[in-house]
Symmetry: C2
Subunit: 458 residues, 2 copies
Amino acid sequence: MTERFELVEKALVKMLEEKKYATLREILLTMNPQDIAAVFNSLQEHRIPLMFRLLPKELAAETFVEMEPDDQELLIRGFSDNELKEVLDELYVDDAVDIVEEMPANVVRRILSQVDPEMRKSINQILRYPESSAGAWMTTEYVSLRPEMTVEESILRIRRQGVDKETIYTCYVTKDRTLLGIVTVKDLLLAEDDEMSIRDLMETDIISVTTHTDQEEVARLFSKYDFLALPVVDKENRMVGIVTVDDAIDVMEEEATEDIELMGGMLPSENTYLRSSVWELFKNRIPWLLLLMVSATFTGMIITSFESALAAQVALTAFIPMLMGTGGNSGSQSSVTVIRALSLGELKFADLPRVLWKEIRTSVLCGVVLAVVCFGKIWLVDRMLLGNEDITWLIDAVVCLALLVTVVTAKIVGAVLPMVAKVIKLDPAVMASPFITTIVDALSLLVYFLFAKAMLPI
Amino acid sequence: MTERFELVEKALVKMLEEKKYATLREILLTMNPQDIAAVFNSLQEHRIPLMFRLLPKELAAETFVEMEPDDQELLIRGFSDNELKEVLDELYVDDAVDIVEEMPANVVRRILSQVDPEMRKSINQILRYPESSAGAWMTTEYVSLRPEMTVEESILRIRRQGVDKETIYTCYVTKDRTLLGIVTVKDLLLAEDDEMSIRDLMETDIISVTTHTDQEEVARLFSKYDFLALPVVDKENRMVGIVTVDDAIDVMEEEATEDIELMGGMLPSENTYLRSSVWELFKNRIPWLLLLMVSATFTGMIITSFESALAAQVALTAFIPMLMGTGGNSGSQSSVTVIRALSLGELKFADLPRVLWKEIRTSVLCGVVLAVVCFGKIWLVDRMLLGNEDITWLIDAVVCLALLVTVVTAKIVGAVLPMVAKVIKLDPAVMASPFITTIVDALSLLVYFLFAKAMLPI
């Protein structure tokens, strides 16, 4: 599918070069805005305005929304005031806000000077909400009905107003801007009596969010209740906008990406990978690397303080990476599982005892199996196959006992820390592998050397 | 919000105990099926059938769909044939399939004996598709129109048929079951002429999937094109069903969870964390732990073969954890970023040169900063503050040079391996931290000891 798309892309560019504009336009008319935008993204800069002007007004605006910010900026800078106004008039408010957020200040001023006053007001309103709040994701364009309307009047109203609304399928019943109920187009179409009043038809048990609700909570509500749109109200329960399901999907992907980045020991990125500059990638990655490098001073100190033990039993050193690695892996397995469950709302802090009990049993199972296999492996491979005569039964036992204790400790630390983070209002994902690995590294070394001191002639 | 919900839950259970059935029923009527299902989940077993029988037919079925499989099974076993039939008649086909998939064989037989023949046929059809294909996620209930119908006739048809369909908002125009076009209810309502034919109104540039399209691809199409539903066709382009956006959201969450689990070094789980048994958790976690533990034999061998070098310069051992840790973290930063971008379809294999160039520059930047900071830290903290006189300028230089080379290598390996995995049709997420860490561990030790041998008097 992707390959076929690349062929189409090449054919289109060729037509543009050969000035076959009529044919090119015909083909563009059959394409989706998203796919046309992808073609623009691979065009040379000077060709972008040329091809854009081939698109009819509505398709041009729909394509504009889907384009990369660089391409959008290039086009806006080349537009006459009239062209700019034409594109802006076709945009939904929330799309206009997304564009404004990506543009430099002088382009933003030009955009705001060309949109109609009502839209300017809405854009400015939405821009005031915190970046990851429901207010920032909402659109102010929705169909509102009054409770005293009939089904027939409502359908007429949708027909008159619907063309400018992002979704018409969920309508909001308001009085003095207060949200009273919800009616879907399905309810309206399937109503047995056209004269029935909206008051009798509407669902009054409404789930809504406020402008300041966090986007993660918004996404969770969509996922739980299968909404197509969710009303956004202010503190006085007055309707100010709606969030639609397509935005909720974007939020979900953003949140999952953010969790994955934090788990991988990075700060969350603003842009997609290919659009991030080397400098941005560096800035997101270096803080954790530095922090974790410096905190490795502890593991270094532990090793240094057991230097004489290591010198007396040189074979011990060879197992340090295996112990620390297995500890780290065990810990990150638990932390990653718990963090994801917290993100999806499947776990809350009150579940801590259940989580602990589950992890203790799982970790003992894992630890015992690992220790037994490790014992056999060290004896058969390291001593007999590789012929390392320094390894004694006792050393083998020390390594495997340390392994068992490390796995159990790592799994408990890995499961508990993210839950504690949640309670003290930190992002649980920050507690993932890199952080937990550092703690587990130090713990596993301590356990190892303590067993060694107790059991070996050192 | 969650706390308030727990209070409601307690109040409801109390009413049930005090046999205030009328009030209880009144309250249940105002609640969402999802929330009622949550109440059932915390009820004692013997109370479940009692409370379920308080619900009116339609709400009972909607709640049933949202319940945990254990509760569903309990109810089905307690139902009379008549009660079972009543619930089943209210279900959408795809929900019925979800339930059937979770039930033991004897319960499945009972369900299939009670559903009407047409639904039985649909259930059996959907059950035949592979678990993660579009066919398994689709429903066979959708509104189909014929091209020669008028707008008015179409709306009438929706009104007659819509009550049994999961979504009415996207209608599918078919002839001899072949998919010709798509018409939305918005198009129908906003059409200027009621006598206009569907043929003239429908969108013919259709994006569809086949029954065997992978669920990840389905989710990507929803995210890219903002669909509410996507048609599923067979190999002959005949319409067989639709996937709706709420299912696409479930797929997205499932896919993200799977990636996160693979990145954390686990096999993907079947159940949510709290519903997974200790045995399941153990089975998902132990394979990678064992594999990585055994593969640590290599790092052990490298250390053993440089034993004499370590004995000559004991201070070298203390920096092994820091070097391996920083290498592992650098590698997993890159791999996690690349894996996520591959999952979201932002990257393809053809981008490999761009990825490489980006990672080389980023890793050199990170490596140089880390090396410089590390050099100062070792001298100021480890030597002067902690007074470790074994550390010389040369040892410090060896550690920091090895660090620089390790970081660059780790980032390149971390970015390239997932892309290679994608090309040879492996899940890129398998190449994440645990796997890459093992490779990077071995590489960083080799680099470290080679620098040590070359620069120190060993």
